[in-house]
Symmetry: C2
Subunit: 391 residues, 2 copies
């Protein structure tokens, strides 16, 4: 039995206490615990392991030379530019995914849900890279891999077959995207995606950029299929900007529908667009959680492997100023993300996997707004990083 004691830490800003970790699990919380090996927390704030709920590890340019972005403004411009640039830049998906996942871990992120592009040019190479990383990180950093037809599926013959193979090869989740805006056939796309989910008994995560009523229609179709297949709790809609576009009464009706169906929302809280409002989602019973989306890739130069910074952006976007509101922003990258993504055994509780991050902050709110140093990161029951760097 391996044991580690965290001495004098304040879980979620509560009173100072000790935390005993045994065999990779939290074994006890309370004052006066002992173990042969211990770390002195000096009263710092202890947070659960952070969760990245929506990113693209396979195509980040993190740590490469600076890519000068001269891309056009349309979604289709960005998709086509990326297919060109990944060749021109010699993107190595495994190297890039590992590099970014390392920095996520150094800053306290112990669970990641990542898309992996699947298309007829790269085939399953990105997917296999992420599956290899998933295996490599098992027990320390949980990585969920979504097979994602970024360039479109219905209009590109051969892509659906690749999606079938991706699921057979071990992808965790079936990915979809704008059923009307990109796929041009909402029924056809969603029937295909949910068909795969049923066939392989896997969850679904749909990128939905479609605005206003077009996006709302897609939400309806997704909720209908989720209910018909009894997939509540296993379907995520990412972005769902449409929820921020529609009028309040329509928004409330859509949220009630999503809550009934058990569809969760992933938000990146982009400052430049309307977004699903976090407080309203929670009040309606809809799980909502956060992610970066791409981190420094050909789509965007922004993003970072710091989920507390993403929580800050979620807080800013939702105009969360009070401490109780900012706690909701933190929950978007901890508890609600675990629930929405289906990451098991997460949180600061006896029996949960021993994952935590010790930060220099007085309160949860300060941890979210202050980009504090990560004094310790615990994953797999051991110290994996100190002072923002992997051990």
């Amino acid at each position: 039995m391996t044991a580690l004691l965290l001495h004098n830490v304040r879980p979620l800003g509560g009173a100072p206490t000790d935390v005993l970790i045994e065999d990779g699990r939290f074994a006890a919380f309370g004052p006066g615990l002992t173990a042969p090996t211990s770390e002195n927390g000096h009263g710092a704030l202890l947070l659960p392991g952070l969760i990245e709920g929506h990113t693209h590890l396979d195509k980040s340019l993190w740590g490469m030379g600076w890519y000068v972005n001269e891309c056009g403004p349309l979604l289709t411009d960005r998709i086509e530019n990326e297919r060109h640039q990944r060749r021109a830049l010699g993107l190595d998906p495994l190297r890039q995914a590992r590099r970014l996942a390392d920095d996520f871990l150094a800053l306290g992120t112990t669970r990641i849900r990542s898309f992996a592009d699947v298309d007829t040019e790269i085939g399953l190479s990105h997917l296999h890279a992420l599956l290899a990383l998933r295996q490599d990180r098992a027990g320390v950093q949980d990585i969920q891999v979504i097979a994602f037809p970024q360039s479109g599926m219905l209009g590109r013959p051969g892509t659906f077959d690749l999606m079938v193979q991706a699921m057979a090869d071990g992808a965790d989740i079936v990915g979809g995207l704008d059923p009307s805006g990109i796929e041009r056939d909402p029924k056809g796309h969603l029937d295909a995606i949910f068909g795969l989910a049923e066939r392989f008994s896997r969850p679904v995560d749909v990128h939905l950029h479609e605005p206003g009523e077009l996006g709302a229609f897609s939400l309806e179709l997704i909720a209908e299929r989720t209910q018909a297949l009894s997939m509540g709790g296993r379907v995520v809609v990412s972005h769902a900007f449409c929820l921020g576009d529609v009028a309040p009464a329509r928004q409330a009706a859509l949220l009630a529908m999503l809550a009934r169906a058990g569809v969760a929302i992933a938000t990146t809280a982009p400052p430049s667009r309307n977004v699903p409002p976090v407080a309203a989602c929670r009040a309606a019973g809809v799980t909502i959680f956060g992610g970066n989306d791409g981190v420094r890739d050909t789509w965007t130069p922004y993003g970072s492997p710091d989920m507390l910074t993403r929580a800050m952006l979620i807080g800013l976007k939702n105009d969360f100023r009070r401490d109780d509101q900012i706690a909701m922003a933190l929950d978007c990258v901890t508890g609600s993300a675990a629930l929405g993504c289906g990451f098991a055994n997460h949180g600061l509780a006896v029996g949960a996997r021993a994952e935590a991050v010790l930060v220099d902050a007085e309160t949860i709110a300060q941890a979210v707004v202050g980009q504090p140093k990560r004094r310790l990161v615990i994953a797999g029951g051991r110290v994996v990083a100190r002072d923002n760097a992997l051990c």
Copy 2:
């Protein structure tokens, strides 16, 4: 004559060169320059001194114990809460202003435009604190002080007299605020503010939170007075959220009006509200620049003394992804801020005051999105900070 050479730096990301500083001014740019004292830039990116164009140094809680925010959501809630909390917390405006200005300088900000609250409870104590700091920093960090009737002027007898005294005591700028939303008398408020400006020959800066057509009406009244008094180039409207609320045609007409009148816009680019669009303002000939607004005060826990982070938030809000767009975000905290605030002799040019910041970044865009280390900050012709800390 004192001289300092910056060797092997890349001004604004251009080719590596040397920069000669003599007697506090940039004396020459070019390869192969010499001076008795030199700093090796190792090819790092050289940016002009950064500018904070809208903040409240006098009431930040920066470096104090964490303030738990439990305030209500209205503008008036926040104003009243602040008056209560500044007593309860024992806020010392000079200590707080100095603390925050120090951290601004350590991160490369050499010019600051700050409001100073003026009201019948604190009188001119905040204003005098900032005037003392302004004098203390002369030659190193330019501080403009705005006399600002945060709690309202027309409805609080005695406040206008304090504003008169503030200007007589040396405030740089006359501050106004929501002429209708708070003051309830747009003509009365703006006549009073512009009357002070005329009497003391000082510029004006009006906080305008008013939404939609109410704010647009205030913009019209401000533009009319600016033109009538030939004050073009000396009037700033801060926030001007209304410009982001109105329809495109109305927005274009308002921007044309502001350009004709010579009214500039200060934006904090809050993710949660509509804002004046940077590219459209620039295209219309309206100077637009950036600021934090309050940094960690009773209004908001957010903000930081890093103007590159503010540039990043401006970029995110405006959906600037291309490198040429992100250069506009940097300009909001450098050149355009100097123009809009009337900070003279700014920029990387022969004859300008020697203020610059050397950052670990390949490109301007990387400097904006990457929160790079500030290897050197030059102000008043000398090195004032290294590696994010004052010397």
